[in-house]
């Protein structure tokens, strides 16, 4: 058991990423403020990035460095998505003066 603590292996990173991902999912499930939900989504994307980098490290120089490129692209996409998402939140807020997602149900039957 001590080996798990002192000998950090790839598994640790992967589990860390998974835990972060699941916390992000929990955030999306439980919170109702749109901003928090967006942040939780960012968390999830980050967790995916960590996984990518961990595996890339595992392959070491046996594989190309494309994982880092991939992660970079993911960060860029996350930025774009955050921007647009926040813009939508602002627009919604302008009309309704609140950003609670459980109140955004006028499209329901």
């Amino acid at each position: 058991m001590t080996s798990l603590v002192w000998n950090i292996g790839y598994g640790h990173f992967l589990v860390l990423a998974a835990v972060l991902f699941l916390i992000g999912v929990a955030g999306v499930l439980v919170r109702r403020n749109a901003l928090i939900i967006l942040m939780s989504v960012e968390l999830m994307l980050n967790a995916a990035n960590v996984t990518l980098i961990a595996f890339s490290r595992m392959w070491g120089d046996k594989a190309a460095l494309s994982a880092h490129t991939f992660a970079l692209i993911v960060i860029a996409v996350a930025a774009a998505e955050a921007a647009v998402g926040l813009a939508i939140v602002v627009a919604v807020f302008r009309g309704r003066h609140n950003v609670e997602v459980d109140r955004l149900n006028t499209l329901r039957h």
Binding site: S3, G11, G27, V30, R32, M39, D61, H68, L72, I73
Partner: protein, 323 residues
């Protein structure tokens, strides 16, 4: 809130200091039972035995065809010579060695970097746990805080922790990018919007949809438990942190009469390496992402802009002029 952050930073600093101090040498394979060289890739038992004789306490063996390597004297070894590589901790330092094909003799040592890793596995482990805790704590902040600004700050902390993690994984460039872009730009954007909303409070848990929350929460707990159990039960592989950085690619940087004169190799995960990959094989994604960013900017502006009557009225039918 700020107090917690200060405390966290202090702890981290302490741990980092601890980690860089030279510690007991026998750290790497501390309790040797779990370090089994058997599963090393492609090495026969004979070679393993030989390596262990030549290099006592060696671990992280790999037997493969080697690439061109530069030894400590700067000589370039080219060609495809079957080589055995092993890591060993010597004098408290972690050094990667290259051995002969049969593993009996050490040829060269590769990259005895006492770089940012330090040499103490224990220290690295502590650092890992610290930063992991920071990330998770930050994530939990996001999910559980009523105060939006607290949540945003938690997110920032989480990202910083993740950046440190990247660093541990030798993804230097990405660590910096993470800090710059994520923590620096995206989170700032979030702060702006929080300010715009001017409603910094929110219920930590949505009051409705209890059934879904409970169900989802249970599932998530189960998954976390299961994943941790997987980690616990799977044989931990070679201690990655203490391992040397992967070797980078070789690049030919100077030609003379179409013959490569000098090569350089880039550090794995460095900006040069990532740049080479980004502008090489990853060129198309790079261009595409730039278009995406443009679209995002335009879209964000278009969406968030308040409606103005004249500009947004439906187009009138032109009655004069040619269409």
């Amino acid at each position: 809130m700020t107090r917690t952050l200060i405390l966290l930073t202090a702890v981290l600093g302490l741990v980092a200091a601890l980690g860089s101090a030279p510690a007991a040498a026998q750290d790497a394979p501390d309790d040797g039972t779990q370090v089994v060289p058997v599963a090393a890739s492609g090495c026969t038992a004979e070679i393993i035995g030989n390596v262990q004789q030549a290099l006592p306490g060696a671990f992280h063996l790999s037997c493969q065809k080697s690439r061109a390597s530069t030894d400590a004297a700067g000589r370039v070894h080219t060609g495809s010579v079957d080589a055995v590589r092993a890591d060993a901790v010597v004098n408290g330092k972690l050094i990667s060695y290259e051995l002969t094909a049969d593993g009996k003799r050490v040829i060269a040592s590769i990259d005895d970097h006492s770089d940012l890793i330090g040499s103490s596995g224990k220290g690295m482990a502590l650092l890992f746990w610290a930063f992991a805790a920071a990330s998770i704590a930050g994530a939990l902040f996001v999910v559980t805080r009523k105060n939006l600004i607290a949540a945003v700050m938690g997110m920032v902390g989480s990202f910083l922790g993740i950046a440190a993690i990247y660093m541990m994984l030798y993804a230097q460039f990405l660590a910096v990018v993470q800090m710059l872009v994520y923590a620096g730009a995206i989170m700032v954007l979030f702060v702006f919007v929080v300010m715009i909303l001017n409603r910094p409070e929110d219920e930590p848990v949505a009051p409705s949809g209890r059934a879904g929350q409970v169900l989802g929460g249970l599932a998530i707990l189960y998954l976390i438990g299961r994943l941790v159990m997987i980690l616990v039960q799977v044989q931990p592989p070679d201690p990655a942190i203490a391992a040397a950085a992967p070797r980078g690619d070789e690049q030919c940087v100077a030609w003379k009469e179409s013959k490569c004169v000098r090569t350089e190799h880039y550090e794995w995960g460095s900006i040069t390496a990532v740049g080479t990959d980004l502008f090489g094989p990853g060129l198309f994604p790079f261009e595409a992402i730039s278009i995406l960013l443009l679209l995002a900017v335009v879209g964000a502006v278009a969406v968030a802009r308040p409606l103005r009557e004249e500009n947004d009225a439906p187009a009138k039918v032109r009655t004069e002029g040619a269409p």
